[in-house]
Amino acid sequence: MSKHALAKPVDVEEATSLNLVPMVDIMFLMLLFFMLGSDMGQRELEEVTLPLAESIKEDKGDAPKAGRTTINVYHDMKRGQTCADYDNDDKNVVCRNDDHWKVGIKGHDYNVKDQAQRDKLRGLLKRESEEGKSNIGDRVSERLVMIRADGKAPYGAVQHVMNLCAECGIYKIETGAAQPPK
């Protein structure tokens, strides 16, 4: 019998047991980081690439007493389709297809070029405007509207939204912009 055959068998369970405590600690830290860093709360914001501006005030999301409505002007394609102009990395190439630009409020999309949809949008803005009026019959509303328009959106799309706001008596308009990287 060889020397090796007489050796004490290795305790398999002891050799493979892992100390999981450090791993659990690190995973907890990662979990905390991702939970605190993720942006889950703002459901009414669509994915837009905001234009850059240096002189912006930080938007803390605080609404006045009369409330605040967020309007998104964003590029939207049917699932599976792509837009070569919008996806172009050249910032000077702009998508001018009106059907691709949508106005989104509270999860609903509107195409402002379509008369029926524009009327629906006007109706919605009128209701929002009424909520910001202190007296029934007031011409203007104190309701605040934040327009978050994609930087590549044609100004005409934003103009439509501003015109509708003005028609509904909303004059407090804020435009969204992002801080340029330093």
């Binding site: 999981l20 990662m30 991702f34 993720s38 942006d39 050249d90 702009v94 909303i170």
Partner: protein, 155 residues
């Protein structure tokens, strides 16, 4: 993942941490996949006029003594052309200095509330309009108006 927590034989309470690790692992993967950094968003206040536009009477003749930034998209160069009144603008710095100079002139004439009117055609990209507004704000020109395009400005 059959493993025990730390402590070994010294610890009388044995916890099976495997289910907890599994759940934390799933949560981690969920948050990692859905994660994107919060973008620092800001805003610019741009109140619409209460007494002009859709409620007011139409302006019969536009006042020529004003500071108006005309903006037009040029498809041949894929860029936005800008001019202040009749003067073509080539850079942001030039635009800023001309606007400040013109507004100062109006101030010296006793019209401190003269606004900068941004008059862009619908096909101009929004980012270029914001750039002009940003230049105004950076140069402490707080009164900025967005106007409906004046017909014939680019003829």
């Amino acid at each position: 993942m059959a493993a025990h927590g730390g402590g070994g034989e010294d610890n009388p309470v044995h916890l099976n941490v495997a289910p907890m690790v599994d759940i934390i692992f799933c949560l981690c993967i969920f948050f990692m996949c859905s994660f994107h950094f919060k973008q620092l968003e800001g805003k610019m206040e741009s109140w619409l006029p209460k007494d002009k536009g859709v409620f007011g009477d139409p302006v019969p003749n536009p006042i020529l003594e004003e500071v108006r930034v005309f903006m037009k998209w040029d498809p041949t160069t894929n860029s936005t052309l800008r001019k202040v009144n009749a003067q073509m603008i080539n850079s942001d710095e030039e635009l800023g200095s001309i606007l400040v100079e013109r507004i100062e002139k109006f101030k010296s004439l006793g019209r401190p509330d003269t606004p900068v009117i941004v008059d862009a055609l619908p096909e101009v990209p929004w980012k270029d309009v914001i750039t002009v507004m940003d230049i105004c704000k950076r140069n402490k020109l707080e009164k900025v108006e967005l106007a409906a395009p004046m017909p014939g400005a680019w003829k």
